[in-house]
């Protein structure tokens, strides 16, 4: 019997009997946890679509709904803090569904002994970030746990947004021939956190890119008005697990291959250098103010031009193409002209990055 070579890996990742840090990575262990525990228990078709937000209709109005919990360490870092991050993270998950952010909830878990001034600064930062993103924090909850049972502040933000008429974004929409566009330099957030946390203090100061992306998305959707709103197939903000994980999720969801060109991927020299020093791959490092979009070929130029005109898309680049071959896989043509697979990580490069 002839053996056939397949690029896909059919071996399922076994679930361990204990929770590991890697289960929170956004990588393979996270995916295994989701499918083996949560999807199996909750049995929701909306949840199983694995988009960054649920979209549903209530009385004829299409809404997006998304939740995110923030456990970032340290609480304050160059370019932001847990408060602004908690707002941007949820606003961006709404925006990735083509929704205008409207309302946010905020749920706090505070550790006994937390400095009240720290909480005051975080709340002020959240308020400022919410105002800047046009979302109102309308409901909240606070719990306190004993010293040693928490870690300063954990914040859950959950958001509701209004999905723009005619927009229907989902990873499953990606089709062969579509272009892959990234909105700017990758890896800034992760390296800023790491630098601050580990006291590495890179020569140049790397600053988190944490920002609300809803106006960039608005600009992009406007740019497709001439063709069709469905020209933008889907968008992701590559947070935990970085660009590599987001694209792997899209490839798996749509059953397509994604082919990247390494030389086209925008990465700051400082970030690249810091990653090399630490043995990290910037494609897996978290971003908090970047998006990757899968766009129909006929609309790619217009969408890219619109992004370049927006402050948060000034470094946008076309970085790859969706292919029919190698479904479920992300590959990259390296600077050396070779091709390698960009797999999802099993565990965690950087725990507690968001």
């Amino acid at each position: 019997m002839a053996t056939t070579f397949s690029l896909s890996c059919p071996i399922p990742l076994q679930l361990t009997d204990r929770i590991l840090l890697g289960h929170g990575s956004g990588g393979k262990l996270s995916a295994a946890l989701l499918s083996d525990i949560f999807f199996r228990a909750f049995q929701s078709p909306v949840l199983a679509r694995m988009d960054d937000q649920a979209v549903f209709e209530i009385s004829g109005t299409r809404l997006a709904f998304t939740t995110d919990t923030f456990v970032v360490k340290p609480l304050f870092f160059p370019g932001g803090d847990i408060g602004s991050l908690a707002v941007h993270g949820t606003v961006n998950d709404l925006a990735m569904g083509g929704a205008e952010p409207l309302y946010l909830s905020a749920g706090f878990i505070l550790e006994e002994g937390l400095d009240m001034d720290v909480l005051r600064r975080v709340a002020a930062s959240m308020a400022h970030a919410a105002q800047a993103s046009g979302a109102e924090i309308v409901t909240g909850d606070t719990k306190v746990v004993e010293k040693g049972c928490g870690d300063g502040i954990f914040i859950n933000t959950t958001g509701i947004g209004l999905v723009r008429k005619g927009v229907n974004l989902s990873a499953a929409n990606a089709s062969p021939g579509d272009r892959v566009i990234v909105s700017g330099m990758l890896g800034d957030h992760g390296m800023a956190i790491l630098s601050e946390r580990e006291g590495i203090g890179f020569d140049t100061s790397i600053v988190s890119d944490s920002a609300p992306l809803h106006t960039l998305v608005r600009t992009m959707l406007d740019a497709t008005a001439g063709t069709s709103l469905s020209a933008i197939r889907c968008m992701r903000d590559p947070t935990r697990g970085g660009l590599a994980s987001s694209l792997n999720e899209i490839a798996a969801s749509a059953g397509v291959g994604i082919e990247l060109t390494e030389t086209a991927i925008p990465i700051r020299e400082e970030v690249r250098g810091a990653c090399e020093m630490l043995g990290l791959d910037p494609l897996y490092v978290a971003n908090e103010g970047k998006l990757v979009a899968i766009v129909a070929p006929e609309a790619a130029d217009a969408v890219l031009a619109a992004m370049l005109s927006h402050p948060l898309g000034a470094d946008a680049r076309l970085i790859g193409t969706v292919r029919a071959k190698h479904p479920g896989l992300v590959t990259i043509r390296t600077v050396f002209g070779t091709t390698r697979i960009v797999d999802m990580l099993s565990g965690d490069q950087l725990p507690r990055i968001c």
Copy 2:
């Protein structure tokens, strides 16, 4: 100058410079934290209404939106677990706003080393509770923190519900002459947790009352159809801080006094005995499947009768009246015929009860 005696306490509670366990109690320290930090920072009129849920209109549809984080200890207790509690808590906050629960989000913070079977049981329990309450868990998030930086499982649930047409419940609606009705026996949840946590093992087994109240609320609203939907002024589920805290919030919000009759308040003998033994007041002990309603006098009988016809309202009782005098205060006529003030607690009787 003549001195006038006032029953209200004008001395503001000073905010400490560190978070205390009592800041999570639902009592005075919680209220101080809300007003000094969160309300000041977020400046939302919806938030400042201090109802258990935000109600707003999107494209003509009135929605309720509420968030709650659960840090209950232990994770499993007689009558429930953190999973079912997380669903019931949020479903009930929606129901208290007159809303039918529709969609839930679930955000998990897991501690490294958590037994996977524990998570599996909790997820199954959440799924079962969601199904029973007609709400679908449609979006989620999982974070993992290092061992010693969390405590097993923390769960945030945030919910969206559809507010019934014509219903407009808010604590501010309570008016002199209104009746106070409670849906059943008080203090079961708190004493069940305490018994399990402290290994007290009361002779009789006290079981948490954790349950979804949306069908009871539906029955109550149906019962007012003959008069006016606004006959039910407001509802609260007296969780953290118990009945005393819920009624104090209503009294403060509406600027009314609330007068209770001690002999009318339904409390199980076992709960009363356990509370006496431990020096606790059952009026401050948490419930997770009870509600207190403020109802216009002309509708009180019909609403009470409707409650008594529902399994979750079988022990419902009329326990008091809203008064114009002593605005902001809750008083109780004791079994001895004297009257005492039922103030909010400063700190915490029982931390991590939900």
